[in-house]
């Protein structure tokens, strides 16, 4: 039997009905058509489905949608302000911190959560921040460089 699920995603309130077995990633992708969030594994291992839930980075494939009832969620679609990209998005563009792009949403959400919690992370802390995310293309170092550039204040927050 379907149950009611209330979510605020990227500032927009939603009220939908889902089967209890629906995973949060499925609610976002299949019910709300927010397909920027990806799924890459079946074992909570790859991090492609990372989103922010009440300010924390979590893997949306490992949470039942109903467990997020009432939560505030930010997905990759919520990072830009209007048409202005977030500092991390801009830094990813400049540093070539993505190739195939399939892990990119997860990487951006993990690093956004990291900087929300800790605006001045060390290199080691940046590495820890993305260690739950697999990138098969870049070798991570360009992602670390992009985050470092944001930490150094090279990118201004959009107003």
């Amino acid at each position: 039997m379907k149950k009611e699920l209330k979510l605020k995603v990227n500032g927009q309130p939603y009220d939908i009905f889902v089967k209890p077995k629906t995973l949060l990633v499925e609610a976002l992708r299949d019910h709300l058509a927010l397909t920027g969030t990806k799924r890459g594994c079946n074992s909570s291992s790859c991090g492609a489905c990372t989103i922010m839930l009440n300010g924390m980075a979590v893997k949306s494939c490992s949470i039942l949608a109903l467990q997020a009832n009432g939560a505030e969620i930010v997905t990759i679609e919520g990072l830009a302000k209007g048409t202005e990209l977030s500092p991390l998005q801009k830094a990813f563009l400049d540093h070539g911190s993505y190739q195939c792009g399939f892990c990119t949403a997860g990487m951006l959400m993990a690093t956004t959560a990291l900087l929300t919690e800790n605006p001045k992370p060390t290199k080691q802390e940046i590495k820890e921040g993305i260690d739950g995310n697999i990138c098969r293309c870049t070798g991570y170092n360009s992602i670390i460089r992009a985050v470092t550039a944001v930490v150094k204040g090279e990118y201004k927050e959009a107003k």
Partner: protein, 757 residues
Amino acid sequence: MSEYSVIGKRVHRVDGPEKVTGSAKYTFDLVLPGMLYGKVLRSPHPHAKILKIDTRKAKRLVGVKAVVTGKDTLGHKQGIWRRFPELCDEEILCREKVRYIGDPVAAVAAIDEDTAEEALDLIDVEYEPLPAVFDPLEAIKEDAPQVHDGIELNININRHIEWGDVDEAFKKCDHIREDQFKCSSQAHVCMETHDAVVSYDYGGKMTVWTSTQSSYYIQRLMADMTGLREGDIRVIKPPTGGGFGSKFELDSAQFCAAILSMKLCKPVKIVLSREEEFTATKRRTPMYYFLKLGAKKDGTLLAKEARVITEGGAYTAMGATALYLTGFFSSFPYKYPNYRYDGYRVYTNTAVTSAMRGFGAPQSTFVGESQLDMMAEDLGIDPIEIRRKNGMTPNYEVPGQAFIQSCGLHQCLDKIEEHVKERGKLPPNHGIGVSAYGFMSGGIFNWFDTPYAFSAAVVRINIDGKVDLFTGACDIGQGSDTTLSMICAEELGVKLEDIRIHAADTGICPPDLGAWGSRETLMNGNAVKRAAAECKRQLLEFAAAKMAPNIAYDFDIKDRWVHLVDRPERGVSYFDIVKEAIRGKDGNAIMGRGHYTPHRKGMISPAYSFGVQAAEVAVDTETGRYKLVNVTTAHESGTVINPVGIEGQLEGAIMMAGGYGFCEDQPMDEGKILNPSIADYKLIRSLDMPETDILEIDTYEPEGPFGAKEAGEGLTNPTAGAIGNAVYKAVGVRINDLPITPEKVLKALKEKEKKKK
């Protein structure tokens, strides 16, 4: 490089904005109205006869729309070596026999994924398990089970390469080494698993959206397998979540979705699960390597003999190419006057081995570079010195095989030597290992038997000066869309933002063989450059007519300025010329076509890239655990078109190739892959990633567009060998079988200790 205004600049990738905002739509994201979801039933047995398939219960499940088995196909066997029909040996949906755990036997389309999966459990397949064979050394024995009927000793294909007089040469050597190695398997682990949406309509036309490295191959192979005409099949490649060699053959997602869609005239989507991705798609070829190397006292290499037996798995796939390339690249990057290679690809009842980034060369480089270090030590010669003494140089001919024009190997050796010196005396149990390599820029071989040019492009200039670039090249993440757009902009003399690329859609783009063998930059780059040059030629005709200068003057375009080459201040705006040219052509848009097919370029490739890598490790001698501290690479790839792209290829290759050396493996038990998940398959993560440094080398490849050549796969070749050599330098033990795990290192350390006593 300042003569270029686009090439060599640090630019944003053309697909960047959509990828960093989550708006790029992958095949994985596509939903069409009325779309159904498919799932594939696979064999749980490594080798069995199919006695009966009963699909009645599955068909009765509410929500199931169709169930197909091999009987619903034409029964054709497919393969990518189309020139040799006997090597096209894979049915995709098996009719009589399954040959590995994961071989597809049926497929279901239903209203949602859960229903389709539930239906799989309701399909009754009666198997008669047959004796199976898993190791190629077992499979070549007289009494081994036969994977395919009538194939003697299960030998799928053999390759022989030879030049010089190897036996005579060995007699003249002062020192000969014979060593054995074992190279492991590796999974591609694309972040987007194999997937496809196929829509077959009542008009008999099929559209395929799929995550692929070659939309043309899929179109052609799909035509072979369905009986449709090539032109009735349109294959579109949306943004693709990685390929690495796994996605240019027709796969079960594409084929089963097509067969189901043809049955229903409705779109069907199939996304392989991560577990299927690990167990039922292709993988890197494991190899047994037997090497014999002979040298003079001074380190001059006189002869090399390589014998290889590879685990083929159940079908041919692209594994036959890997068998050839590992043999060719076993001679790389050195000048062997005498060389012999014999390789055998052996069928086994395991998941199929095929192409993976490096394509046989990571294996040959690991074994070759390991053995070369052993030889250097035996002779008391510095590892870099022995490489310098024998390394390839520009304008070198590999006898009967290849002609190498540009080659920066020696500059790379110099740079790496400097780097090693700079590191100075290392802390205890640290070691730096060096590994040299080379790779091709696209294959010349045409076993696929395409009648088309290897690469082709069309450039069209619109009235407002915006340029549409149509190419069959496939961007799978490596960045070909950006590189080709840059080449197009440079050649045409416009800005990168003036280009809009339309790629890998067989309905509108000219055929291209796709993204494999590091071919896009050189081959498609040349095609794009020629197409752009043709457009430019048309524009300049109008410029000449309009400005009417002394006919001795040449025109060119740069930064949207059409001008006289010798008097660049005299010119007109590109936009004005475009408008006039179109008007002058009776309203026809300016169009140029270009293609590239290599001619008289040897057997392998029109050009080769080279490099040298140094890996530093720190070993814990009590546990055998080592850390990758730093990997520094001197790589030359001709003119650098897209520097950000090359950095990404280089660092990414280290994650993958370092993994091949350090931790990635696919252990099996009776043909069953034991680690089919990202939790159990060990991948290098950010905390495990070493520091990476890139040392730039300038070269120019006459055959490449603006002097460019490959910078993608070759980078996967050196790392395992560099790690092996580094571990040896650090603690004096040599591991000859991949991956070099801490457990193996510790075991070797203990044996060494025992010998001392």
